[in-house]
């Protein structure tokens, strides 16, 4: 038990919790904590240029390391600017602790300078939040917050600390056992449910694994267990956007991503399966398409650490509440215990091979050196050029994100950082900053659209300051491409406000920040340009000019079933009824 100021307590607790990096931005209400952090020997503070970027950088740090991301911002605008990233972390189950300054307790509720109701504003976009009024409670709250952020379904936790609580002294000690007094998420799966599930898996004629971000959150061992179980059963596997990397994309059992921009084979296999084994995935609307036509012939097993995910959208036959890794281990053990043998799934695989034969990710392109670059080709070229370098890829949100998900292959988890649930434009670049801070020697590439990138482009300064070798690879088509694509699908190509007008010269912008800027205009320049990007030390921005009007296919239009995929542009009619228009 030691007596210290609240600010010192914050820093001491972070040290005791093993925190090495804090992403933040100072301001009046957090000055005491910033002073306690001054020249700190073990905690590196990364000064961002906007608080939203601090939260996304913390997400990138968390997603690429498995450790919680930590954010420090001031009261009022500092806190409100962080809200988008906090919500993003909630939707994608990213462990994060956000420390916000607050006006002194004596001024709370008086509309003081830079006062906002931070706990009120973040109540529904955090897993949990605190307003600490008593310095004696502060240490325990910080330890508890990290426990909550990282246990059960991970998520963001906000700790709002009034300035006088940072200055006042209180007693601090490391709790003997760090936990919450009542929050006990179920981690171990129910043995009965596992036994039933494994019998169903062994008996299925047309099984498919449908996995999500929960497998990544459960750690690398969960991904290894997933590979083992898939190999034991011989079943095909598809994944959500958030789950990419849990299963190697070069394995023949991999069908690619499913859902709105998923592959034809994965969506058809989901539709015709007799058993879906959902692991750490939540039957999101991007995945299911029209619900009354979703997987009509399939029984469903749903493994999820969050009971509220089960039966939320799709009723399931067997619910397994628990950690994805533990559940997969238990299934593997039960498979052996019961002496199950893999069935002959030959007929099922023949049907899948038939769907694969549509080669749904192929795209038309011209091959001459002077030809315009198809965006899909740019992603494939980047993938080819970075093979063997184990890159970390982040994306912004839009067409480029879907092309990256379709055409970039991942062999391992924690290499693919993207905003899935909230779909936050402006996520990718700061997430790359966070990932690069955590992995200073790795190749970190943000695949961006020219529109999304501009939402947090101010972080170029952060990259320069910390000499981070982040690479930004812009698929520049001068459009908010996904918005334009939907306008083509739904509004007869009335392009209302979707053109990226008045773009900066990205090469000159690079120079202004002390980066290297490159421009790629034609197919002939693509490979060299990418090689140059990789080989140039320090940060590089690549303005890769791609075909302006390319659209992202395949696509399940909103309100359609898995079997009603648009495979090519000629399938687009340009009109939809109101029911479909009303869907996002």
């Amino acid at each position: 038990m030691k007596e210290m100021s609240g600010a010192d307590m914050v820093v001491q607790a972070l040290v005791d919790l093993g925190v090495d990096t804090v992403f933040g931005y100072p301001g009046g209400a957090v000055l005491p904590i910033y002073d306690a952090l001054f020249n700190h020997p073990s905690i590196k503070h990364v000064l961002v240029r906007h608080e939203q970027a601090a939260t996304h950088a913390a997400e990138g740090y968390a997603r690429s390391t498995g450790k919680p991301g930590v954010v420090l911002v001031t009261s009022g605008p500092g806190a409100t600017n962080a809200v988008t990233g906090i919500t993003d972390a909630l939707l994608d189950s990213i462990p994060m602790v956000v420390l916000t300054g607050q006006v002194p307790t004596t001024l709370i509720g008086t509309d003081a300078f830079q006062e906002c109701d931070t706990v009120g504003i973040t109540r529904h976009c955090t897993k949990h939040n605190y307003l600490v009024m008593d310095p004696d409670r502060l240490g325990a709250v910080i330890h508890e917050a990290f426990y909550i952020a990282t246990h059960g379904r991970p998520g963001p936790v906000v700790i709002d600390i009034p300035k006088n609580v940072q200055v006042a002294t209180g007693s601090y000690s490391v709790p003997e056992k760090i936990e919450h007094q009542s929050y006990r998420p179920q981690v171990e799966p129910d043995a009965g449910a596992i036994a039933q599930a494994i019998d169903m898996i062994a008996a299925a004629e047309r099984p498919i694994f449908y996995t999500g971000g929960g497998v990544i959150n459960a750690g690398p061992d969960a991904s290894a267990a997933l590979r083992q179980l898939v190999s034991l059963t011989g079943a095909p596997i598809t994944s959500t956007l958030m789950g990419l990397g849990a299963f190697p994309s070069d394995d023949p059992k991999w069908l690619g991503m499913l859902g709105m921009h998923g592959t034809y084979e994965s969506n058809m296999a989901m539709n015709r399966a007799d058993l879906i084994i959902a692991v750490g995935a939540r039957f999101d609307d991007r995945v299911t398409g029209r619900l009354d036509a979703f997987a009509p012939e399939a029984k469903k097993i749903h493994i999820d650490i969050d009971r509220s995910s089960i039966n939320k959208i799709v009723p399931v036959d067997i619910a397994v509440v628990g950690d994805a890794g533990r559940a997969l281990d238990a299934l593997i053990a039960a498979w052996a215990d019961k002496g199950h043998k893999a069935r002959d799934l030959g007929e099922w695989w023949r049907r899948i091979d038939g769907w694969r034969a549509t080669r749904c990710l192929d795209f038309p392109e011209k091959k001459d050196a002077g030809a315009e670059i198809m965006p899909q080709r740019a992603v494939k070229a980047l993938f080819d050029a970075t093979r063997g370098r184990d890159p970390i890829i982040t994306t912004e949100v839009g067409q480029h994100q879907m092309w990256a998900a379709q055409h970039f292959g991942f062999a391992a988890p924690n290499r693919w950082l993207t905003s899935g649930g909230l779909g936050t434009m402006g996520y990718g670049f700061p997430a790359a900053v966070g990932a690069q801070i955590a992995h200073p020697n790795r190749l970190v590439v943000c695949i961006a659209g020219e529109a999304s990138l501009q939402m947090n482009i101010q972080e170029m300064g952060t990259v320069s300051q910390y000499r981070l070798p982040v690479k930004i690879f812009i698929l520049n088509n001068e459009w908010m491409g996904m918005v334009r694509q939907w306008q083509e699908l739904t509004y007869e190509s009335r392009y209302s406000n979707s053109y990226s007008d008045s773009l900066p010269d990205f090469v000159k912008l690079a120079a202004a920040y002390g980066w290297t800027g490159l421009r790629i205009d034609t197919l002939g320049e693509l490979e060299d340009g990418i090689r140059q990007m990789i080989e140039t030390p320090g940060p590089v921005i690549v303005d890769c000019r791609v075909a302006k009007l390319a659209n992202c296919f395949p696509m399940i239009p909103s309100g359609a079933a898995h079997t009603d995929m648009i495979l090519q542009p000629s399938d687009v009619t340009g009109k939809m009824d109101d029911e479909a228009k009303a869907l996002v």
Binding site: R153, D306, N311, K312, D578
Partner: protein, 171 residues
């Protein structure tokens, strides 16, 4: 295009929570954010050390929605336990209403007579008014208030439901 909404059956939920600042906002916010109904909500702390509160929520929805409401409540960090009293079986529901009736003459006498039938207590009176206190399930309170409308009703305050399962067991 018309927007349709689902209706469903009424459920009474008993929710035990940490008695901490903002917990009520968290619960009611969950209901509004996810589009669930609240017909009634009551809360008070129930432990000697003031550490725990019990919230009684009356809600309605199809079975899948009720199941989802319970799961969503249960995942909140400060929530200890969620019990669906309706699902669990027999339980007692009570609420209190204070009912102010103003008037003189025959209506005033009729109000007093009806109050007696409903075992409502007079807790305040002037020469031209009564305040009745009535305790019972919501139906009984509704019926009493409906009758009082004919007898000079001027104001009503209701607590909302508290409920507890029958029998010797605790939650």
């Amino acid at each position: 295009m018309k927007i349709t909404t689902e209706t469903g059956e009424r459920h009474v939920l008993a929710v035990t929570v940490d008695n901490e600042a903002g917990i009520l906002a968290k619960i009611t916010g969950l209901f509004s954010a996810r589009g669930y109904n609240i017909e009634s909500l009551t809360v008070a702390d129930i432990s000697a050390d003031h550490a725990l509160s019990r919230i009684t929520i009356v809600t309605s929805g199809p079975p899948a929605v009720i199941d989802q409401i319970i799961a969503q409540l249960d995942r909140l960090v400060p929530v200890h336990q969620v019990t669906d009293l309706t699902d669990q079986g027999a339980h007692v529901e009570r609420e209190i209403a204070l009912v102010k009736v103003a008037g003189t003459g025959e209506k005033r006498i009729e109000a007093l007579r009806l109050a007696d039938v409903f075992r409502a207590k007079v807790v305040d009176t002037t020469l031209s008014s009564f305040i009745f206190e009535i305790t019972g399930n919501s139906d009984k309170v509704d019926r009493f208030i409906a009758l009082m409308r004919e007898c000079g009703l001027v104001e009503v305050g209701r607590t909302g439901i508290v409920a507890i399962a029958r029998g010797p067991e605790a939650l």
